[in-house]
């Protein structure tokens, strides 16, 4: 599919998914009710629910999905590896260890957030310091350092889960599977998404060259080392922001860029905005389903990103061959 067809289609999915998210939940609203509530003229329950709960929630889901998908695109270009996702370099592992350790100690939401941010930050610095050699035209060291650190964090996560009791375990599992019910720092997340997304789109020509091989990129005049460092920190910033919003929501960052590629859009100029839009819409859809299907019980959104995404992606893959 040509990007000139796909991109407008993806733009249309944004209001549709946001509308779907606003209409559904413990208190279903008709489209017209949503509309009046959004205009905010009367003070009824619908207006309250919409402005206080649902709008922040769908906006958080959208921005989180966009952050993850964009981070996936950047990491797949940096690592030149189709299996790269926002969590491959151990950032989520560090964040999870931080968050779970805080939960185990009975810390509140703010401390947990701070602790998970600290864990992610340490992981980012450690992987970069140990794994990145400036001027080395080989990115495997960075990739393997990240994967090894992830494995170490995985062991710590298991340990923390084992030590935790009863209700704590459930909170931890929600964090690990991704959950958008405690999202905070929404304006900042939008700022990160827009800033990195715009920069990456503007610099997309260089990304195409870089993804095509490092020697080739250097021969075509790209300052490879600086680009790699820039990409790494941009992707890390996106991932940390997403982790702070919704824990480690899986699948989006890995699969959304591939879905766009399978639809026939490969050049980063289109891949970046398309993935961001689809990632956002997709996570809104998944999160809405997580809120509605067992309502009033809310399920971790990570379950639905996989349950929804897997069949679609398998279909796209089989269609291609």
């Amino acid at each position: 599919m040509s990007p000139r067809v796909l991109f407008p289609l993806l733009l249309c999915t944004v209001p549709l998914s946001l509308g779907f998210g606003l209409m559904n939940g413990s208190l279903p609203l008709a489209p017209i009710e949503v509309w009046y509530a959004l205009l905010g003229n009367n003070e009824d329950t619908a207006t309250e629910v919409l402005w206080q709960l649902r709008l922040p929630r769908v906006l958080a889901a959208f921005v989180c999905g966009g952050l993850l998908a964009l981070s996936g695109v950047l990491l797949q270009a940096l690592l030149r590896n189709p299996l790269a996702d926002p969590y491959i370099l151990g950032i989520s592992g560090g964040a999870a260890v931080g968050a779970l350790a805080a939960m185990l100690l009975g810390a509140g939401l703010a401390t947990t957030q701070l602790s998970s941010f600290t864990g992610a930050f340490l992981a980012i610095v450690a992987v970069f310091g140990l794994g990145f050699r400036h001027g080395e035209r080989n990115i495997y060291r960075l990739l393997l350092t990240g994967v090894v650190l992830s494995a170490g964090c995985g062991a710590l996560i298991s340990l923390l889960l084992t030590l935790a009791q009863g209700e704590q375990v459930k909170g931890m599992l929600f964090w690990l599977m991704g959950d958008l019910s405690h999202s905070q720092g929404l304006p900042f997340a939008w700022f990160v998404l827009l800033a990195v997304g715009l920069c990456a789109t503007v610099l997309s020509g260089g990304l195409d060259v870089l993804a095509g091989g490092l020697d080739k990129a250097a021969a075509l005049g790209v300052a490879v080392g600086r680009w790699q460092a820039g990409l790494y920190f941009a992707a890390a910033a996106l991932t940390v922001t997403a982790l702070q919003l919704g824990g480690s929501i899986g699948f989006v960052g890995l699969m959304i860029p591939h879905a766009i590629r399978l639809l026939g859009v490969g050049a980063h100029r289109w891949l970046i905005p398309s993935s961001t839009l689809l990632g956002g819409s997709f996570l809104v859809l998944a999160d809405t389903l997580a809120r509605m299907l067992w309502s009033p019980l809310q399920l971790p959104v990570g379950i639905f990103t996989a349950l929804l995404g897997v069949p679609v992606l398998l279909w796209l893959l089989s269609r291609r061959s």
């Binding site: 030149r80 189709p82 035209r137 789109t201 503007v202 610099l203 997309s204 020509g205 260089g206 195409d208 060259v209 993804a211 095509g212 091989g213 490092l214 020697d215 080739k216 250097a218 021969a219 075509l220 005049g221 790209v222 300052a223 590629r261 026939g264 490969g266 050049a267 100029r269 891949l271």
Partner: protein, 256 residues
């Protein structure tokens, strides 16, 4: 005439293996160099060193009289084109988008390529007989088609000097001949070329200079007519060869 690319006292080694010692050479406009040698002798490493992609042990490489390292990489890329043997990358776009990457160093706007870039890419695609494949996803191409796309990308770059690592790999006979014709035209236009070849016939037909890399790190270079002899090539490949003469052209074939 001012040399495009010049190596002075160049010593190159990789992984403890000596590739060349105190090599002096210069490539001038309108020259075509062939690089010959056994597998693993370091032809690619020498080419990468000349392209500024590998740091030599000693000595220096200069472009237009100025050390490579002193040039901004982008400026250099506007004049010096490199065709690599293994790109080791993924490209998810169309063939046309792939060839357009050759215009990257010439881009004037930050966002996208202009009409001139697209015209040059189109011409390069036509030169490599890829017009019918422009919209195909690059990663669906066959080995030979990929090689032609890579050459088209280099042509779109419009460099003054090309370093080509096995430009004929994966190409069938017709495309080998056509590609060499394209290179000959570049040479006539004043371009300088240096290419790694395994076919001595193409080296004789198209190269005016050859560089022979021996397994012990010894390098011999000079006029092709003088160096492409049975004795030199037997020493180079460490294998008995037979020299045939077909319509006045010398052919070297491996003996059995």
């Amino acid at each position: 005439m001012q040399a495009f690319l010049e190596a002075r006292k160049l010593t190159v080694a990789i992984g403890g293996k000596l590739i060349c010692r105190e090599l002096d050479m210069m490539i001038r406009p309108g020259e075509c160099w062939g690089v010959l040698g056994q597998n693993g002798v370091g032809k690619t490493t020498l080419l990468r060193t000349l392209a500024g992609l590998h740091t030599p042990q000693a000595g220096m490489v200069s472009w237009n009289g100025v050390a490579l390292a002193a040039h901004a990489r982008r400026n250099l890329a506007q004049h010096l084109g490199v065709l690599l043997q293994n790109e080791g990358g993924e490209f998810w776009g169309s063939v046309q988008e792939y060839v357009l990457l050759g215009r990257f160093p010439h881009r004037t706007s930050l966002f996208g390529y202009n009409v001139q870039d697209e015209t040059l890419a189109q011409q390069a695609l036509a030169q490599m007989e890829l017009e019918g494949l422009t919209q195909r996803p690059y990663n669906t191409l066959s080995g030979g088609e990929r090689q032609r796309a890579a050459i088209a990308q280099a042509l779109a770059q419009q460099a003054q000097c090309y370093l080509l690592d096995e430009p004929l790999q994966h190409l069938d006979l017709r495309h080998q001949a056509q590609t060499m014709q394209v290179f000959s035209r570049l040479k006539e236009q004043g371009c300088a070329l240096m290419m790694v070849l395994h076919d001595t016939l193409w080296a004789q037909r198209c190269c005016d200079h050859v560089l022979l890399q021996f397994a012990d790190g010894h390098v011999l270079h000079g006029p092709a007519q003088k160096l492409l002899t049975c004795a030199h090539l037997e020493a180079l490949y460490q294998y008995p060869l037979r020299e045939l003469s077909v319509e006045g052209e010398r052919w070297f074939v491996a003996g059995v």
